[in-house]
Symmetry: C3
Subunit: 357 residues, 3 copies
């Protein structure tokens, strides 16, 4: 089950270079897409399925801004409309392939999977990409064989840093006990964390004197379908027990993460992390990326085993705990959007309603 | 869905040598078979399934013209009748394994998958095998993960030579525009092509002076389930615009191709190509085989991706084009045979009819 | 379908070392388990599924005799009861993971998959393990992709030694003709074999003078789910045609074999063989293990092909033979136990019965 009227991240802009690797196939929310760039660099997203006999368009050939299916030679414009059928003059209006609204922003390619008339670019979440001059952002990606609801639950409850990520992003049990301020957003949830006098995360502890403590201020926006935008600031431990840290800012950073459902059983996870230019130093961005690379490999092992268990026992009795509060907020929001779209689809399919149009 | 009363190619005769690789398992039209040669060289085709507990007969052992299941030692004659049950004297009449009519012809092994009483060898399509002294035929085979209907559609519309095979068998868009003369056969369709003043196919262009043109006469018989027998003749480009080419015959050749449905999702493709002795020259047969090897790898990539798309959206809306005429002829013929056999099976299952027998 | 109230072999004791490879996942009778040792060395078997969100417990971490799920840090005692939920004080009584009775015996780990109140260690079959000082037992294991009923049928009819194992354990057709004395056991079948003046098994023939003959006395207990305990004695061929062999005892040996259903489609096969200290000589135990290793690879090929055939044609018509007598005894006993448990489960589910409790 996927929210259709939603922007889905189709990957990093640098994955879609002009030339060899395009047209590029992608599977998003259960649909097969092909992406390519027009001469002006803008991106076309099209169903990866010729309207003739379903040949894969990603095996086709670019011709200017058009793409030709290389099975029977049908040529399509970037709007999906067929412009040439070799061997015949007439081209039916039905000879078209579905295209999807695309926006490039913050070095991510975003595709709108629903009604194109609702594709408002303002709905794309704020992010800080590797192209932003004020930050030194490094990027990566990972595939996980699990339903994206498990990723939502993972990202909405950071108490797991203490456990899964004890050897990487964790290093303190304060992730378990710190109160979190949640705020509902139109398409997501904002979480605010304030940690005072905590050790560095494990992956970075060797950089600092033994026992050194830090203050951490952290804001996370999680939005549909499963984007995680993190503003992470670390200070030397200060003396203020309330309000802003009065320590020295030693790391101001953004980590932008987009988890894209491929289908019910898989996600592609596009992520980045990096410091501000002001708090950067040689090797720091690489250290941060290495830390999050390690952490997401840890998550992958846990989520894939969890998902196998859940597929085997979909009706398994569950015990709830205090840390489910965050996941529940986001999963309920997802369910509301899914229910809304299902109701709209049912209305759309209602013959009375159609008769009145 | 497979036509049962039909000859299916089980492979090249040289695949079934006496000795090491027999008994040889094959899956044809959804049924598991085992093949072996009797002492006189003739071929036995038997269900690959012992009548006792379904042990695989291809793990059994030849004993003269018999085959012994090596699980419990039951021995069967080449007619499938059990002739020995170790440890007991009585052999039930039910102790038999289904056998299938087999004919070797043109270096292919043909198996009849339906009612043995209808197995008329005259229904085996004409072909030119590697053993024919008048031709220098070279052979190969390839596996494709697609339903055989996609192969029928592929082989009944050669306009795709221009596109899929632009780097191998293609090299001109005349495959798109040349009118084809279709003639219905009892179990197939004959297609006749006449191309005048066309370039050599891409895989052979380097052999000839740049820009040299040719006349091509080509006849294809496609028959059930999916056999493709091609008579291909090339001439130096002549001056006659109507009727036979008046150029010089430089290649007279046959390509015999049998696409055997393994099951709903796979085919085995046994194929050959080669010149007449009169038009042969050193290296030519190898060049032709290399050309078709390349082409069928190209088809494999396209058909497998297309089949994945079709499995995902079996109800995908399709737009028809002019080149569907050929595929439709053969697919409708296939559907008629399938419907006829389904009706016969329904009559057979009718209790009233059985009571009257 | 599995008998629940039954001991299942979870493997050799040396597979569950303290340290690196624990907690150790195992799948038994369709259920995912995790095993680990307490500080006193005794074994805990627990469902491999956290009661919170089904995270895999085998990715958890040992803490003394407890195990902590490393997703959200819930900690469980060796009885499965949750003893810590990080971030909250209250622990619901429902926060527990199912545990299974475990007994270590004869160097095997046995797990009871049913009602713990019925887990009687006396029901564990007799075996001779590698730790027994009176025998020199060597061990191994193999995975087979087949339902365990096929293994039962295999082990209850040793006529197949003549055929499948002609190059290993076989070497004579006397396995086909020797009468077997069957005796029903409460949870299995005892088979007694007496072979007089037979050749050595093929794998050992090179050890003896050509044509040398032997007397063999063999007792086998097969018990639920599919344990095969063999007492195998070989003598130089004597002159007594009735009663005990009057030849010289040259091999007194035990082979203990436990075939554990993993799920409907797989088994794990834990096995051993070895001579008494009195009849041991250098290299003998290795020769025996090599012989049975070869034989079980032969069985694996046959059973996996047979199982593929049976899955494809579950309703395949079967012919019965004299050697089905042994398999039928054990399969009917299995079916009785399955039917009994199904009836108990139905009674348990009956609302009237529950109302009366």
């Amino acid at each position: 089950m996927f929210v259709k009227n939603c922007w889905y991240c189709a990957g990093w802009d640098y994955e879609l270079v002009l030339g060899r690797n395009e047209p590029m196939p992608r599977r998003i929310a259960g649909e097969a897409l092909v992406l390519y760039r027009k001469l002006d660099g803008s991106v076309v997203a099209m169903e990866d399925r010729c309207c003739h006999r379903q040949a894969a368009m990603h095996l086709g050939q670019r011709e200017g801004d058009c793409i030709r299916c290389m099975y029977h030679g049908m040529k399509f414009g970037p709007d999906g409309k067929c412009v040439e059928i070799p061997g015949q003059d007439h081209i039916s209006d039905k000879a078209r392939i579905r295209t999807y609204p695309v926006v490039e922003k913050d070095n991510w390619i975003w595709v709108w999977m629903g009604d194109p008339s609702k594709a408002d670019p303002e709905l794309i979440p704020f992010a800080v990409g590797p192209g932003d001059k004020n930050w030194k952002i490094k990027t990566s990606k990972i595939s996980v064989r699990a339903n994206y609801r498990l990723e939502i639950a993972n990202l909405m409850d950071l108490s797991h840093l203490t456990w899964i990520h004890r050897a990487s992003l964790g290093g303190t049990d304060r992730w378990v006990t710190t109160p979190i301020k949640f705020t509902m957003l139109p398409r997501g949830v904002k979480s605010e964390f304030v940690l005072r006098s905590v050790p560095a995360p494990t992956f970075a502890q060797h950089v600092f004197p033994t026992g050194m403590l830090f203050d951490i201020d952290m804001n996370v926006d999680v939005t549909l379908p499963c984007n995680f935008i993190l503003h992470f600031r670390a200070f030397t431990a200060g003396t203020a027990t309330e309000g802003p840290s009065n320590g020295q800012l030693i790391l101001d950073s953004w980590s932008s993460q987009a988890v894209t459902p491929v289908d019910e059983d898989n996600v592609e996870y596009y992520y980045s992390w990096g410091p501000s230019i002001a708090t950067d130093r040689p090797g720091l961005a690489d250290l941060l990326l290495a830390g999050v690379n390690q952490a997401f490999a840890e998550d992958k092992a846990v989520l894939e085993a969890q998902y196998r268990n859940m597929k085997e026992r979909p009706d398994g009795n569950l015990v709830n705990i205090v840390h489910d509060a965050g996941p529940e907020k986001m999963l309920r929001l997802l369910d509301r959007f899914l229910a809304k779209e299902a109701a709209e689809a049912a209305r759309e399919a209602n013959p009375l309603r159609r008769a009145h149009r």
